[in-house]
Every structure is written in C-alpha cells, then in structure tokens.
Amino acid sequence: MIELRAVHKRHANGFEALRGVSLKVAKGDLVAVTGRSGAGKSTLLRLMAGIERATQGDVLVNGQNVGRLREAGLAALRRNLGLVFQDHKILFSRSVGENVALPLEIAGVPRSETASRVRAALDKVGLLDRERAAPVTLSGGEQQRLCIARAIVHRPAIVIADEPTGGLDAEYAAAIGGLFRSFNQVGVTIVVSTHNAQEMAALGCRVVTLDQGRLCP
C-alpha cells in the first residue's frame, strides 16, 4: 500500500533529513513512526502524502510513484488520504463543522450528504456538540480531535497523522490512540508519528524508529 525504497531527502539548505529509508506499510497496517525531535518523522510523512518530493529513491502509494505525479495526480492522491498535520492547519474563519466538511466539499459530495457525514465524524471524536463552535474556542486537545475528524470524514483508505497526540496528557493521548486503533480495525491503513513509543506499542501497533534520518533496525 505504501512503500519507500532507499529514500533520501535533502532540504534546500543542504540538510539531509532522511538518509536511505526503506519501509513497507501493508494494507490494514497500523504503523507508528517514533524518534526524537528532528529525527525526520514529519519529513517522512510529508513524502508519503506527496507534499514534498524525495531527492533520491522512490515513494509508492497505492502503486503510484508519488515523485512522478503531476499536479492533478497529486491532488487526486491526497483526496484519497486522510491527513493530520503537526501544525493542525485549521481554518479559523470557519466553524468546526465547516472545517470538517472541507474534504467532502473538495470531493464534490452533495450538501445533503455532507451534513450527516460531518456529524458522524464529529461524533467519533466526541465533538458533536461543538459543530457550530468557532475553532478558537476549542482546547488544544479538542483542536487535535477536530483534525482527526477532518482526516476521516471522507472515509479514506489510508490515514497519515503527524503527531496527533502531541502535547496531550497521557489520558487524552490514550483516547486518541484508541480512536486510531478502532479505525484500523475497520480496515483503514494508518501511519502515525509520535514521540511516545510505549503508548503506541501498548496499542499493539508496529513501531519503527527514526534516528537522524535513518531507520533503526
């Protein structure tokens, strides 16, 4: 489903964030990418979503070579992914519900259908009662759950989540971990990055660790 082959990523300033990473994520896997700050977790996830391009090696998603996709192909690929960004990317000019509706709007889902699917997604993350609220009125953890709702509302086959539990206390983090576990149980392939390896291992997921741009054996 997702495959990285000897991937290198050198940033514009010459810094090499990934140095020969090879990784296979099969359909239905739940993979946690851990590592210290600056190890290259976000870079790895951005390569998978086609937000950045590898400078060497291939990134394959659903059999497509992401590095070779053109603008329209990349957009189509991302429409089929559920993405959670480390910096959230919430639109504060829209309500919580409107933020969650965004992927459906982009996919051209009819408005009649949108409303019920947004509510279903918000229900899953426990934010149903905040649908009309402004995102600024949400706590940090609630904002993170909003991002998860937005990532799953269009029922993607793959979810790529960059530190969805970052900055949360253990209890909240466990709740969100459980959420991913339940998505995974219905067949969604999931890649999450996290600082907290134990917590993910506890959920029974496969844990891979990055260290200075290399995968630890």
Binding site: I51, E71, A72, A75, A76, L77, R78, R79, N80, L81, L83, F85, K89, L91, S93, L102, P103, E105, I106, A107, G108, P110, R150
Partner: protein, 299 residues
C-alpha cells in the same frame, strides 16, 4: 445534479458570499468597471447616431453656381463651356432664370407667393455634378468658381454630409480604440481584485491544496467572483448609457423638430445583454489570468 454542475454551483455560491461579505469593495470595483465600460458605449451610440444623421442629409455630389443678377445668358453659356473642361467636374447644366422660375412654380405651396411677384427674382444658374469628394479638391474648385467674375455664390450642400461622414468614421475608430484600451483596464481591475482575494484567502487555499483540492477547484470561485463583478458592471454601464442617451434624445428631438425630427440611436435589450455578457466574460478572463499568475505563489 451531476458532479460538474454541483462543483460550479458550489463555486458560484462561494463567490456570491465573498462579494456580499465585502459589499463595499464590491460596489467600488463594480462602479469603476462600469465607468470604464460606459465611456466607449456612449461613444459608440453617439457615433452611430451621427452616422445615421449624415446618411439622411443630401449626399449627391452636386454644386449649384448662382450667377450675378446682372450676368446674362451668354455669360452663363460661356461659363458652362469653361467648366466643361474643368478637372473634377463630371457634367454641367445651365439653368436659365426662366427655367428656374418654372421649376419653382411646380413646388405647390410656393406658386401663390411667386404669383404675387411681378418680376423674376431668380438668377441664372449652373448645376455641376462633381466627380470627386476630397475636401481639399472641393475647396480648390469652390475657390475657382467663386473667382469667376459672373459668379455670385456657390453652394455645395453635400459638403456637410461628407464632413459628418468623415468625422464619424474617424470617431468610430476612436471609439474602438477607447473600447480596447478600457477593456484592458477592466481586465486589470478584475485581475487586481482577484489578486486581493487570493491574498486574503491564502491560508484557506493552502489548506485546501494540502488535502487534495485541484487547481481548478481553487480557481473556480475566483473566476465566478470576476465574472459576476463584470456582469454587474456591464448592467450598470448599460443602464447609465441608456439613461444618458434617453435624455440626449429628448433634447435632440426638440431641437430638430422643425427639420422633421431626428432620433438618436439607443441601445436595445439585446445590445444591453450582449454588453453585460461581454463584461462578464472579461471578468472571467481577468480573474483567470490573475489566478494563473498568483495561485502558483501559494503552492
């Protein structure tokens, strides 16, 4: 509703919402664009009216040469012979004062008046048909005719029609040039509002692109934004032109009542629809060009 149509309805709705959210800015740019459209529209209407007026004036290239009261028929015949050889003169016909009086008597309402006269007040005359309408040559010929000792007066009525015709041709090309220039100005105004839209929605555009919005998806509301402004401006410009032409037409009708009245050309409904549609297309185009240039920067 199919997908394509739904995407357009969503985009149009979003554009309308943005126009409403910034009602003041929308009004301002619509008025500016309408101004740029009104000017050439008025010019074209006026030029077309002038052309129609010119076409109703005498356009026969005929000159009437009236001899002095003292000049006799022999002098007239001699002048006739002289003018036959003159370049630019196609035919010459001598009309004696007796003949002229007979002709005049045939004009019904004048016969009573003429009957009251005991002498013939008309001079001998020559009627010239000219070959050429060049103003400079006409002036030279007129000068030559007037310099003849037996000639009292020369009239070339068609000269006026010709002058108006020439002026209107000139004005017409001017109108087209002004239209083209202001068309470009409309593109720039719309292009600039589109650029501001992109700047103010930068975050939203970026997030949409990150989660899979295509270029077309992001561009579509901007295109509607431009097209709606253009169309509104076209309607406003049409309305202003119609109002101005109406008021001018009323004045002109009063002024020319004694000459049988003269109607100004006024833009009709199809013309107004065409102008609004054209302005809408310009808006769409302006937004497109601007989006193509500025969206890349947000990627």
């Amino acid at each position: 509703m199919n997908r394509w149509l739904r995407a357009h309805v969503v985009a149009a709705r979003r554009a309308l919402q943005r126009l409403r959210d910034d009602a003041w800015g929308t009004c301002l740019s619509v008025v500016v664009i309408a101004g740029a459209i009104t000017l050439p529209l008025l010019l074209v209407s006026l030029v077309e009216s002038a052309r129609q007026a010119a076409s109703r004036l005498a356009t026969d290239p005929v000159a009437n040469v009236y001899l002095k009261a003292g000049a006799d028929e022999a002098a007239g015949r001699a002048l006739e012979k002289l003018l036959r050889g003159q370049p630019g003169v196609a035919t010459v016909r001598f009309v004696s004062r007796e003949q002229a009086l007979l002709d005049l008597r045939k004009v019904g309402h004048l016969s009573e008046l003429l009957a009251a006269l005991d002498t013939n007040p008309l001079p001998h005359a020559l009627v010239l048909r000219l070959e050429n309408r060049e103003p400079s040559e006409l002036a030279a010929l007129k000068g030559f005719l007037a310099s003849q000792p037996a000639v009292e007066d020369v009239s070339m009525d068609f000269e006026w029609a010709e002058r108006i015709r020439r002026a209107s041709v000139l004005l017409q090309s001017l109108a087209w040039a002004v239209s083209a220039a202001l068309g470009v100005a409309v593109l720039f105004v719309i292009g600039n509002t589109t650029r501001l839209q992109i700047l103010s929605q930068r975050d939203e555009i970026q997030v949409c692109r990150l989660i899979g919005a295509s270029q077309a998806y992001v561009r579509r509301p901007l295109l509607y934004h431009g097209a709606i402004q253009g169309t509104l401006a076209g309607l406003l410009a049409g309305g202003i032109t119609l109002a101005v032409m109406r008021s001018i037409a009323a004045e002109v009708r009063q002024l020319t009542a004694s000459y049988g009245g003269f109607e100004m050309i006024q833009p009709d409904l199809p013309a107004l629809i065409a102008v609004s549609a054209l302005a809408g297309i310009m808006g769409w185009l302006g937004a497109w060009v601007s989006a193509a240039r500025h969206l890349r920067a947000t990627d």
